[in-house]
Amino acid sequence: MKHPMPLNWRKYAERYNLYGTRCETCGTAFFPGRKICPNCRRKGKMVEEKMPEQGKIVSFTRVHTGPSGFKHETPYFLAIIELDNRARLLAQIVDTEPEQVKIGTRVKRAFRKIMEPDKKGVISYGYKFRITE
């Protein structure tokens, strides 16, 4: 995988602190943030907004064949999470027993290293999620 330093740097607010956007015209929250609201287009008004830290699992899988950077973690859980403002994101579920991972389970954001460093030594950090119930 290639993750150039400037890309990581541009994504600090999004990946470290869950900053996205909300359209003030229709009220929809977007993560990651978008420049244009797909519902309202130019009638929309996008403002930056911090996403809630909690949500629930909408769907999940357990990856047994991981790409480079993730091999040491296999098998790992990957889930689509709906945050409490209805924005959705894809993230790993960590610190859990397999039987705890179910559709509807409540989860909370954790700050983690995402993968093993690439060849240039760049370490990518970001969000993973833990089960709270």
Binding site: L7, S59, V63, H64, P67, L78, I80, L89, L90, I114
Partner: protein, 399 residues
Amino acid sequence: MEKTKIVVGEKMTKVVVVGTGITKFGELWEKSFRDLITEAGIRAIEDSGLSGKDIEAIYGGCMASGRFIGQEHIGALIADQLGLNPIPSTRCEAACASGGVALRQGFLAIKSGAYDCVAVGGVEKMTEVSTEEAGFALGGAGDQEIELFHGATFPSLYALLARAHMNEFGTTEEQMAMVAVKNHANAMHNPNAQFHREITVEQVMNSGYVAEPIKLLDCSPITDGAAAVILCSGKKARELGLKGVEIAASEQASDALALTDRKSLTELNSTKVASSKAYKKAGVRPKDIDVAEVHDCFTINEIISIEDLGFFKKGEGGKAVEEGKTSLTGSIPINTSGGLKAAGHPVGATGIKQAIEIVEQIEGKCNGRQVKNAKLGLAHNVGGSGATAVVSIFRRWGK
């Protein structure tokens, strides 16, 4: 202000597939990218009875030649290798739907009146790199920044769709396995298929998880291959006395790259939109279709897609497979070629291979996998996890 009147019916240009050419699909160590495109291209031209000088333009589907063989600028390469310079040659890329998109561009080019005869091809040479590098190249069909970055693989994205479908409708892993079993059985009758080996539900169930609930034998393979078709306007085909199959409609739709931006995880909206438009343009209904090639990159996608294409009600796809409704002798035979699963999936070539299978079914050339009296067929090609879908409908061409 006067509105432009759209002319429909007999006066509208018809698009006819007058020739088809395909290579063997598989791990073709002895064949290069260039060998594949020339083999498929020459076969298509010879099958049509035309000569290279009749071809006015080329559209070529190819997903990731840059990652697979370090070669871009595929459009010009195809024209050059086929000895067709200086006609315009354009590469079309839409991940695994690259071939379907190229077919539609060729279809539109003739519909528009710009050309009377074009060649459309698709190609992928995937075995020059390791399985891991191939996985990374294919991952480019998803969203790099918010899916692949977090450890998503291509099978894992379809696994998320599979889990949602199982949760909502009770679809089972055995029903998914039955898709693979059926498609391997069909491929036994397709000489160009990658696999000529029947498999059992038990073998699929024991093949090991790649991304739960998707197992190794739920996945389409890594494949080398190319396919090409020659398209002519109805007028030109009549003048030259050519035989062929008409493309009655070819429609395309887009959706969010990332699954997290989709409205539903149990359907592909792009398939629903493209197919409903295609049925309308062709003036037919889903139940009129005699045979269909459906994008089974993973077995769950055949189940989701036969629902989204309107062959079965939402949630009843798994049951339909289990009841044999999609087998060769069922009410709507699906993937007679063996599908992506067993015929192989050279990504850029798949959309063209699907079209060729439907054309040959309508021409009655499919021998052991022939659907009796197939008059109307459909090809469904998906890019990524559903961000692009192309649906084309084919029918017998009456001169």
